[in-house]
């Protein structure tokens, strides 16, 4: 098994993560063997369309998958220690302290009946700090995210703007001094200018704290601006993973290249019509073989349906899960 990794000292290692959803039609394999590596101080983008399982994967990292979905398998190791073993107790203990999560909708993520300051102090106090310490740290972090002063500390969540709420949420996530920050579409609900300033803040905080960030988004442009590496997810699996430049220069998986073709280039010529991928993302039930993208793939071959596609190494840290990539590289160990 050759691991397609440049850095073997990964901080967060996710192997074969599986989340199934019980539906009337059967077990839906929402996250179907997801594997990821994030190094210390690295920003990994997890990109995919709606329903590809990226948010469920994020929740699974904290053992927060809501029923009827449940985490049915996988290894989630932080610093080499598997947190997923033992019914997820270690994952719950790591919540907020070692792995923090920022949601998309900041308005819904703040408790409406608690003042912003109170919520931060509470979050800090859960980490074991005394109330005075917690308050001092909450103030310092609010200051750091650009929300200094008593006005925000004593404000109700509904009195803040969308950008302010997202900043407050970011401050809250950092209170426990986590090593890994999972950001689930943290800027999707914001307008473009606010989005840019929140992203800039996120990048600053990431650099200054050496945070490992799993940045989940459906927006390739945002991912490109922030992430060193990007993993493209389709139907619960990573189909291609590459350094950002390498992916944009030459995506090898048909889905990844189709996704790239679908996003409007900012500096390129204006397209008459934005291309789209025909068909809809599949819902995979029960044991299924073959490439999940095959039904929508323009270059699908017979063996795409007959067997699971191999995980093909294409470069130092570039790999794709596709038979078409086989000619270029050599088949590596199949991850999950």
């Amino acid at each position: 098994m050759t691991r397609v990794r440049s850095d073997d000292a990964a901080l967060l290692e996710v192997d074969d993560l599986r989340v199934h959803v019980a539906t009337p039609e059967g077990e839906l394999r929402a996250v179907d063997g997801l594997s990821l590596r994030i190094g210390r101080g690295e920003v990994l983008g997890l990109v995919g369309e709606s329903g590809c399982g990226k948010s469920l994967a994020a929740l699974a990292l904290l053992d927060l998958v809501p029923p009827p979905a449940r985490r049915v398998g996988g290894r989630i190791a932080l610093g080499g220690v598997d947190l997923a073993a033992g019914a997820g107790r270690a994952l719950r203990a790591a919540r907020g302290r070692r792995i923090a999560l920022v949601f998309q909708d900041a308005a819904a993520s703040l408790t409406p009946t608690l003042r912003v300051g109170e919520q931060l102090v509470e979050a800090a106090a859960i980490g074991g700090a005394s109330v005075r310490d917690a308050a001092a740290r909450a103030r310092a972090l609010l200051e750091r995210v650009g929300l200094g002063g008593e006005r925000v500390f004593g404000a109700w969540p509904h009195q803040l703007s969308g950008g302010q709420r997202q900043r407050a949420l970011l401050a809250m996530a950092l209170l426990g001094e986590p090593a890994v920050l999972v950001a689930d579409e943290p800027t999707t609900a914001l307008d473009v200018t606010t989005q840019a300033s929140v992203l800039a803040l996120l990048r600053e905080l990431q650099r200054e704290r050496g945070l490992a960030v799993l940045f989940i988004t459906h927006d390739l442009a945002v991912a490109a601006a922030l992430c060193q590496r990007i993993a493209v997810m389709y139907a619960g699996r990573v189909v291609e993973e590459a350094p950002t430049e390498a992916l944009f220069a030459g995506a090898r998986h048909p889905y990844a290249s189709a996704l790239l073709a679908c996003s409007a280039p900012l500096d390129g010529p204006r397209l008459a019509r934005l291309p789209s991928i025909p068909g809809a993302p599949p819902r995979r039930f029960g044991p299924a073989v073959g490439c999940a993208f095959a039904p929508r793939c323009p270059d699908a071959q017979r063996r795409c349906v007959a067997e699971d596609p191999p995980w093909v190494a294409l470069g130092a840290s570039h790999a794709a899960r596709c038979v078409l990539a086989l000619g270029a590289g050599d088949a590596g160990g199949r991850r999950g």
Binding site: S109, T111, E118, A123
Partner: protein, 286 residues
């Protein structure tokens, strides 16, 4: 802190609400009159005066007298003590049990919720008067006519609706993202329930709680009518007043004063309840 915080801003808003102010003032006046009035005026509700029976309101007896010549003002005020105490105490019992029960059922959901709410459904199916009588009989004969069994009995009957309301609120709130966010921060179940969920359900709890007070006061008067209540209360006085009303020469004051006090108090409670609901909801600041 969480509950106190909205109330601080809320009190300022409460002061700008004329109907709430009037309601609160009226409640305070009634409560003060009931607790201090009989002492200050030197009146006794049980002193009979056969010669002065059915005296209309006047200088000697401001509210008139009843069939035994007892001073009605004294009886209304002392009866008010019982009614208010029964209303508040039984509501407190019902809010405490109902909130805790409903919150646990709603928070844990699934089978826990299923079982807990079926118990509530079952108790709903039992005629409440039967339950009340059962509880009253559990107390010894010596305690009959005392307020305590009535508090307990009414509280035990009233919590069912409160449990359903709180359960529904918590069930809806637990799906909200801020609960997930609190869990991400590492908050325990108890903390999530007490700090994040219940304060958000406070509006309905307060509103239904204030509606419970008049409901309980009325229920107590019904019990009094059956001879199971407390011996002297507004409900009892109204029942007595109704009994003597006739078209020819009616001692109208026997009905008018107790029911007037009862109605005014219930109305004031509703005003205050409405204002409290607004005050506890920080989103209502505008």
């Amino acid at each position: 802190m969480s509950i106190a915080a909205p109330a601080v801003g809320g009190l300022a808003r409460l002061r700008r609400d004329p109907s709430a102010l009037a309601g609160a003032a009226l409640l305070a006046a009634v409560a003060a009159a009931c607790t201090l009035g009989p002492l200050l005026l030197g009146l006794d509700p049980e002193t009979t005066a056969p010669a002065a029976r059915h005296t209309p309101p006047g200088a000697a007896h401001w509210f008139g007298t009843d069939a035994l010549g007892r001073d009605l003002l004294a009886r209304v005020l002392v009866g008010g003590r019982t009614s208010l105490a029964v209303g508040l105490a039984a509501t407190a019992v019902s809010v405490a049990i109902g909130t805790l029960y409903g919150a646990i059922a709603g928070y844990y959901a699934g089978r826990v919720d299923e079982l807990m709410m079926r118990i509530v459904d079952f108790l709903y199916g039992v005629p409440y008067m039967f339950l009340v009588i059962l509880v009253m009989l559990l107390f010894s004969d010596t305690a009959r006519g005392e307020p305590l069994p009535v508090f307990v009995a009414l509280g035990l009957v009233q919590w069912l609706t409160m449990a359903r309301i709180v359960r529904g609120q918590v069930l809806a709130l637990r799906e909200r993202e801020f609960v997930l966010a609190a869990r991400v921060a590492g908050a325990s179940d108890a903390r999530i329930l007490l700090r994040h969920l219940l304060p958000n359900a406070l509006g309905p709890i307060v509103v239904y709680g204030t509606l419970t007070v008049p409901g309980v006061i009325l229920l107590e008067s019904f019990l009094s009518f059956l001879g199971l209540g407390v011996s002297l209360s507004w409900g009892q006085l109204v029942a007595d007043g109704v009994a003597v009303v006739n078209p020819v020469r009616s001692p109208w004051w026997l009905l008018a004063f107790p029911s007037g006090f009862l109605a005014a108090t219930l109305l004031a409670l509703n005003f205050v309840g409405d204002a409290l609901r607004d005050a506890f909801d920080p989103r209502a600041v505008g």
